[in-house]
Symmetry: C2
Subunit: 665 residues, 2 copies
């Protein structure tokens, strides 16, 4: 049989038993946890076995290997497929006992794959479509790094298992379109085409011709019987040869082999039940006890896990002799280059001297002009607002299908796809992605922002036009609740710098922050310089006294971003009236919250506090108290020139002065 | 010329001059405002003129006419096209002076079309892709209402102008797929296929075969020269005949007729400049002064605006004689039927007697079983989580291509498309849409939630699995910041009921709330009944004293939703210890904020306050003070059984008791 020679020289019956091991472990783990999703692992086990035992380049002995193929389980609810494979193929750190504690507190085997729980989990999935879009970013990262370091160091593929849900989500359109545009031929998506969604048959909600859709994006497509290993193998061989990204529709039966539940939504998201589980094993001819795998099957899986060990050793040799060895290792490790900080420090010194009056989006661009050349792993872009976001840097080439060495990406009007692909680039390693859109459109990419925060990865978002200060475009484009909604996300640093100096400082912090995403909320409108010293990075503590009161503090004005200069002007008038007033700049709440209470109290002071921000007051009570005096917005904005809006909504120096006077009266 | 007979019996030169009037007004208004987007109206004026003068069924004398065709400018930045048409065609309330105050404070002619500014503005657009998805909801609403009231009352089309941005956004995939699945043949999208996005040529960011993509959704497609009125006319005739939704790709030149900027991104988003504006007019042969339109052109436009006056009069006659006249008028007006409140009141009486212990998602389903039969304009659905969201009602048929009279929609895994289509249904009139998904996936539809709040429309979201109480699915599925992020949106009522009674009350409030969207955040897990009286709707004030202290209040525990019963249990223990403790239930912050200060203070009391909610404390200081004692989450959740998680994160009766004791110590 030709088939035998093809799949690890194993008879197909052995291959099938390898797949059955995944199926049965999924059934057992879900049964024991009394919750989970057996249907997908049972359906996709055959195709996954072909992938893991013949195509995916990985060495179970070293999941950190930089040139490994990336595997993304976009249909994250089928997590047991991933865990079963990792365990069976011999990865350390995921034992049978971990599978037995599937979905229990502190288990590596969480309900959905969680990045950080095990090094071979490439990304956190579960929110549908995200993994697919991460994978596009990973594949793009591969092409870029291959262009930078050469194919002797970087030459791997990205494989995805996606479900109907992933493909129905809007993000799949953005991601697939990006992949098609860039011709990411080393990206292959296995679509678990089982025809079932939670509410029932997919046909009840969708009449898409999915293959035709992916063809319209410039993908190669193929439909196969997902339970026929040879057919799957042929399709994967085609994908490897293809000069386009490839979608392989694997026709499968969800809950394969479950006598009554196979092919139905009933096998999707809950245990089969002990009877059905037993009957399934019987149907498969599986006689081992729960959580037991016959030795020959385990041995075949471990052989699969060692399959690329030789390739890894060769790669290590190539790396050892590579002229860019240390630079490659540095970039992959996420450590910044030596010289960057010096460059940034002298840039800040220059700002202290020049005191430029500029919109913070422009100051951000100036900072990028220093950082991007100094940090070669920074890779920028914008969701079709380059000229507004000021995210590009002169002389930095565009990344295009013709030039993957480029470092600037025109993401198109695809905020969600951009953010998720940026996550994928950060997860891949070797890159620090940053991308721009308007602050209000953070809403379009919020699921990906949340995942970046959850995964603790370094993705930086340049979100300009950060208040009614954007003017005429009106309330649809004016964030009012957006700062609050982002500050609410754990582990996301929202920076809102007040001038050129703070912008440079916040950029430093964002770039240095290797354990979470950052947002820079930047003004459209010009802002005066407020700082003329450049020693310590004062934004590093999240908030600081920008101007101390002339005497014992009678009041403290706390402000952020484009409203800090209003606070400074108000302070001057109040001081002249004999009201000693301090101004606190609070560019990053997240960092300020991390300071010790002593520092926070000393900064905010015990005099009455007045907050100023051209957004809603939601959340400001944390700094101002429940009887907060807050100058800002109380609802949506309006369409008018910016100056008119600040007047109309009463966010002015006069209003701040009056509020302080009222507070002290 | 056959053409003359076809377009309002006008020579094509006159038709062209009608289009030029739109172009020139757009140029003049943007020039005067010193900001705006002239390129799109200049490019699409020809196609739009064909639409507005021959196909769109409307009567400028009555923009409220219920059976008018809907026109949605999804590419909302081209707002001057809309305003110019409305003015030229003779709509009251949008005068030349309004165009002259384009983008100024209080102008009808805001930067982007704002729903509510003028009755002929069907929806607020600007955030790309939203209008297209609204239109899908409108077209679906039309089919449903036609099935309910007959085609003699409901028989109209929905027309959209969309740009490249709309089609690149992920939401376009969800919306187009829904339209294709339901075969919404009366929906036609004119795609302004100008090949230009803000960063430059579309080809720089996208290689999609858009027509093929829409064919994959089951749409009819056609490509035409967008500057050839006869070709556009033929394509629209084809669309009217088609049994599928239709995409007409109008090949256009952005900034048409601007000598140097036409065909470039330079004409997209800023004034042409006085010289180029002059040269444009010269190129068009336009000799009138700014904001002046020759009388013959204005007369032709006004004739277009009167074109369907006869059809409207016939319709009014049909309505007058229609057996369902008053019911139709009631539904369209948004007024609830007489009997609904009685039904709901007796349902609440039953809850008071039965005191059911149930998850609030289950209690919600019980409420729906009363409301949906009583309020025929309620139309439900879920983004493929029907069994989890409990959004369906027994006996209510599914809305399908075969049965548009159905009242339950399987939206598929398309949260964003669902929310935007729900907005479109509410905007259409005659329907109160509600839809379900998990609370954490509110992030996927946030741009549409924001627009519903901005537009003040009644769309109700049933968001279940509202905390770590969902258990094993883990942090990707557990909202922690989501409540805060939604409460931050102005004019959005976030209801988090504590038991069956509160759930019924919150449903009443959501249904009654005709000037804004509502969210019901509901538990997965079972909850005890806390209320046994059913008179007044106590949730109507947003918060209330659920249990008063046994003596002078020593402490007040403020809680929401699934944590209120913890507060009640803690109170009992504390009272037994001799610590008089009150429990305040705070199901809706938005409504509570609207109460007078006296009520709020009386409710919250002046004793120390302790907050309890299985989410982050962000925003809670508003009710608790800056030194808030809050029992809740401090970061993301984890994967484990729910009871383990509440223990692990310390959200327990014991923790509440301990917190009160500490606070009083």
């Amino acid at each position: 049989m030709a088939a035998q020679a093809k799949l690890l020289s194993l008879p197909l019956t052995d291959v099938r038993r390898m797949a059955d091991a995944i199926r049965v472990l999924a059934v057992d783990a879900v049964e024991k946890a009394k919750s989970g999703h057996p249907g997908m692992p049972m359906g996709m086990a055959d195709a996954a076995t072909v992938l893991f035992s013949k195509f995916l380049k990985y060495d179970a002995a070293d999941p950190h290997w930089a040139d490994r193929d990336r595997f993304v389980l976009s249909a994250g609810h089928g997590s047991m497929l991933l865990y079963a494979w990792l365990h069976l193929s011999g990865h350390a750190g995921i034992e049978m006992s971990d599978l037995q504690s599937f979905r229990q507190l502190h288990s590596v085997a969480a309900g959905h794959p969680e990045y950080g729980e095990h090094p071979a989990i490439e990304t956190t999935t579960g929110p549908l479509g995200q993994g697919l879009a991460n994978a596009v970013g990973m594949a793009l990262a591969e092409r870029h790094l291959a262009a930078r370091f050469g194919r002797s160091l970087v030459d791997h593929r990205t494989w995805v298992i996606a479900g109907d849900g992933c493909l129905m989500e809007g993000i799949s359109h953005e991601a697939a379109s990006i992949a098609g545009h860039f011709g990411l031929s080393k990206l292959t998506v296995l679509w678990d085409d089982n025809g079932i969604c939670i509410d029932g048959d997919v046909g009840m909600t969708s009449s898409d011709d999915v293959l035709k859709r992916f063809q319209s994006y410039g993908w190669a497509v193929k439909r196969v019987d997902g339970h026929d290993p040879i057919a799957v193998e042929k399709a994967m061989e085609g994908a490897v040869r293809s000069r386009k990204p490839t979608l392989i529709a694997c026709r499968t039966i969800i809950g394969f082999a479950a006598p009554t539940k196979a092919g139905t939504a009933g096998s999707h998201g809950s245990p089969l039940g002990s009877k059905e589980a037993e009957a399934t094993k019987q149907a498969l001819g599986w006689t081992s006890a729960p959580f037991e795998v016959p030795e020959d099957i385990k041995a075949n899986w471990e052989a699969a896990g060692r399959r690329s060990a030789g390739a890894r050793r060769s790669w290590l040799k190539r790396l050892a002799n590579h002229p860019q060895k240390s630079e490659f290792e540095r970039a992959i490790s996420g450590k910044l280059p030596e010289a960057w900080h010096e460059a940034s420090a002298s840039f800040r010194q220059k700002i202290a001297e020049d005191k430029p009056k500029a919109a913070t989006r422009v100051s951000s661009q100036k900072a990028l002009e220093v950082l991007v050349p100094a940090i070669p792993e920074m890779i920028g872009g914008s969701a079709d607002l380059t000229g507004s976001n000021n995210t590009n840097v002169k002389g930095v080439p565009v990344l295009s299908p013709a030039n993957f060495a480029g470092r600037y990406i025109h993401w198109g009007i695809r905020e969600h796809g951009m953010a998720a692909a940026m996550n994928g680039m950060a997860l891949h390693g070797g890159l620090i992605p940053y991308g721009g859109t308007f602050l209000v459109f953070a809403d379009y990419m919020r699921p990906s922002l949340r995942l970046a925060a959850l995964m603790k990865i370094r993705a930086i978002h340049v979100l300009t036009h950060d208040s009614i200060g954007l003017g005429e475009d009106g309330p649809t484009h004016q964030p009012v609740e957006t700062l609050a909604s982002l500050r609410a996300i754990p582990n996301l640093c929202v920076f809102r710098p007040a001038d050129a100096m703070e912008t440079a400082e916040c950029w430093e912090l964002a770039v240095q922050r290797s354990d979470g995403p950052s947002i820079l909320a930047l003004s459209r409108q010009g802002l005066p310089a407020l700082r003329d010293e450049a020693g310590e990075n004062r934004c590093a503590r999240g908030g600081y006294v920008l101007a101390e009161a002339g005497g014992k503090r009678a009041a403290t004005i706390v402000a952020t971003g484009s409203e800090v200069h209003l606070a400074v002007a108000a302070r001057e008038a109040l001081e002249a009236e004999g009201i000693p007033t301090a101004v606190v700049s609070l560019p990053c709440w997240e960092l300020f919250s991390l300071q010790d209470e002593g520092y926070r109290l000393a900064t905010l002071g015990d005099a009455p506090r007045i907050g100023v921000e051209a957004g809603l007051g939601f959340g400001w009570e944390r700094w101002l108290g429940a009887d907060a005096t807050f100058i800002g917005m109380t609802g949506f904005g309006a369409s008018a020139p910016a100056e008119d809006l600040f007047q109309h909504f009463g966010i002015t120096v006069e209003a701040v002065i009056a509020a302080v006077r009222r507070k002290l009266a």
